[in-house]
């Protein structure tokens, strides 16, 4: 699956990137650059060549591990991604860590109390998440928790850990036993993670609810109840385990989606992540960067799907890997 998807994704990006009516070389050089410099850039990065030749250069570079040169940052794309990807990844993980349990819990409550007040409340809460412009929510949180209460900081990732192993600040802080940066990093990630998680929450809730509703009608739930098991066990051990299977797919997709969808949150909270990089790249026509980001996203998407498949096999004994 990986190879066709990746080829497809690079092709789409390439097509989009190069049908642009503007001259990227001019954008890379800047307004004041003399025409010779623009021409040099055009020459150097093969912008005068036909599209397929450029594509060939790109793919052959990719194979050699050269992801191209990011003109908006004046350094290789790979270096940029190594900076920005962990930031977004960390943010996304935390957002999912909030969204998954809360979303599943709300979904269960909603399904068990279908068409009763708890169902209505949790649905309104969850649907509010997907209905709110995420940047507006972010601003609201800053207004409340930074401006008025002063509990959490409003920008950045916090203190850089004394050693960087993974680029994930919190993990690095723990690994390097740098508790001051750990504290600061956790404090900094809370608001953006909450903001980012809210929209995903609804998706999780919705999926859990509908698959729970379906599962709850099945015979084995009747069996479980006929066994005299308490409701809690029936719901969480017997029903949820089965209902989680479709929810998991959604979680996997949502994770991959969040990585790319974090741009708004990253902008509001000045989070130096991939979304902002992509946005910046797009607004400066930094194609190698756009290609790099989308390529990485596609790979993550495929990996996320793979992980979901593995989780499936764990959750559902009927599914065997490799089938």
């Amino acid at each position: 699956m990986l190879i066709p998807v990746v080829i497809g994704v690079t092709l789409i990006t390439f097509t989009i990137a190069y049908v642009i009516p503007a001259d990227p070389a001019r954008a890379w050089a800047g307004q004041k650059a003399p025409p010779e410099v623009v021409e040099q850039i055009r020459e150097k990065y093969h912008l005068n060549d036909p599209l397929y030749v450029q594509y060939y250069y790109y793919i052959s570079g990719l194979v050699r591990g050269d992801w191209g040169y990011s003109h908006s940052e004046h350094r290789p794309v790979l270096d940029c991604l190594m900076d920005y990807f962990p930031a977004t990844f960390e943010l996304t993980i935390w957002a999912m860590a909030i969204a998954i349990p809360v979303g599943i819990y709300l979904g269960v409550v909603s399904a068990v109390k279908r068409n009763k007040i708890p169902d209505h409340l949790s649905r309104i809460f969850a649907l509010s998440g997907v209905s709110m412009p995420i940047f507006w929510l972010g601003l609201l949180l800053i207004l409340i928790f930074y401006t008025y209460l002063g509990w959490f900081p409003a920008s950045g990732r916090g203190i850089t850990p004394s050693h960087t192993y993974t680029g994930l600040y919190i993990l690095d802080s723990i690994l390097s036993l740098d508790f001051q940066s750990l504290a600061s990093d956790i404090w900094h990630i809370i608001l953006p993670a909450v903001t980012l998680s809210y929209a995903t929450l609804a998706v999780m809730t919705r999926m859990t609810r509908s698959s729970m509703l379906e599962v709850l009608r099945l015979d084995y739930i009747k069996t479980a109840r006929a066994k005299g098991l308490p409701d809690k066990i029936v719901i969480y051990r017997h029903a949820l385990r089965n209902a989680l299977i479709p929810t998991l797919t959604v979680a996997g997709l949502a994770f991959a989606g969040l990585l790319g969808g974090a741009v708004l949150t990253e902008t509001i909270f000045s989070w130096p992540g991939m979304g902002r990089y992509a946005y910046h790249a797009i607004s400066t026509l930094d194609f190698p960067a756009i290609m790099g980001v989308t390529f990485l996203m596609a790979v993550i998407f495929v990996i996320a799907n793979l992980i979901v498949d593995i989780m499936y096999a764990y959750l559902d004994p009927r599914i065997k890997l490799g089938e």
Binding site: D219, Y220, K222, T223, A226, G228, L229, I233, P317
Partner: protein, 333 residues
């Protein structure tokens, strides 16, 4: 009678739906004695399963038990709290379902599902994960014993299998062994053989008979299949449109059916011994339970319809010792 295990008295279970109130069970009374197999027979949708679910207490929204009594060992189950009823479920009264394919949780092994029940009722541990390992091992041995009891082939291996790895008959055996693991007094079997092949059906029925002998339990066997009734039950209740129309010893019922509906049912059984020109059937169709016919529910289809049948619902009367019929034909006697 002192040997009555369960007594159902004038049970009404209604479902409140968009179209109207479905009177799925509308005044059902019968009793089950210790150590007997009581059959409940009737066409699909006549309220057999709802009766069973009412007894075990699993009627869901929008259904509700409107009135009646379910007296088990001298206690009216309907007056107990949900918590007390839950403790009876699975320990005193168990139930197995029609579809062995779907009645077992696909994500847990057979062993887990049996052990869970044993832990719950014997140790009071609801969450299997909280149980100490030794205890689980002990229960697992017990579960294997149970599987042996239902003649499960290769029980040591089966116990670690997932439901989807077993055949339909094996699943139903697993189901039976699970539901009998706590040695309940009453087992409700809701069409336990319907979904199975004929050969497997017989095996399962034999196991049920076996269990009755070995464990001394009572069984409420629900089926639409008269041959199953004939084979295993001691006594039979015939249900029609939410009512019981006839109760008798199995032999007596087959030998001398009294209610026109029962007569019709028995005549509809194909037989090799006496070839008929044409199979008999009961004319008309199962009535709508929202707007059931007035008086005797069966009157629109009855060949012996009298004016009173339209007006008055007949009561269940004992026309012979142990043989009850609800029909105006016998009301006057």
């Amino acid at each position: 009678m002192s040997d009555v295990l369960l007594k159902v008295e004038d049970l009404h279970t209604y479902f409140y739906t968009y179209e109207g109130v479905v009177k799925a069970v509308d005044g059902v009374s019968f009793d089950i004695r210790k150590g007997e197999i009581f059959g409940l027979v009737g066409e699909t949708g006549c309220g057999k399963s709802v009766t069973a679910l009412s007894i075990i207490g699993l009627i869901d929204e929008p259904g509700r038990i409107v009135s009646g009594k379910i007296i088990y060992k001298g206690k009216n189950l309907l007056e107990l709290s949900e918590e007390e009823r839950r403790k009876i479920r699975g320990k005193e009264i168990s139930m197995i379902f029609q579809e062995p394919m779907t009645a077992l949780n696909p994500v847990y092994t057979i062993g887990d599902q049996i052990v869970e029940l044993l832990l719950l009722h014997e140790e009071g541990i609801a969450n299997i994960k909280r149980a100490p390992k030794e205890l689980k091992e002990e229960k697992k041995k017990k579960a294997i014993e149970m599987l042996k009891l239902v003649r499960m082939p290769d029980p040591e291996r089966t116990i670690d299998s997932y439901p989807h790895e077993l055949s339909g008959g094996m699943r139903q055996r697993a189901m039976i062994s699970m539901m009998l693991a706590t040695k309940p007094s009453l087992l409700i079997a809701d069409e336990p053989t319907t979904a199975l092949d004929v050969t497997v059906q017989a095996q399962i029925l034999n196991i049920l008979l076996d269990m009755k002998e070995k464990l001394g339990i009572s069984i409420l066997l629900i089926t639409h299949d008269l041959s199953v009734i004939a084979e295993v039950t001691d006594r039979v209740g015939v249900m029609y449109a939410g009512n019981i129309v006839e109760i008798a010893d199995t032999y007596a019922l087959f030998d001398n059916p009294r209610h026109p509906y029962t007569v019709g049912l028995l005549q509809a059984i194909p037989s090799v011994t006496e070839k008929k020109e044409e199979l008999k059937y009961i004319r008309g169709s199962v009535p709508n339970l929202i707007y059931p016919p007035s008086g005797c529910r069966f009157h629109p289809r009855c060949d012996y319809m009298m004016p009173i049948c339209k007006k008055e619902k007949p009561k269940l009367v004992e026309i012979e010792p142990g043989h009850y019929v609800a029909c105006h034909l016998f009301g006057g006697e």
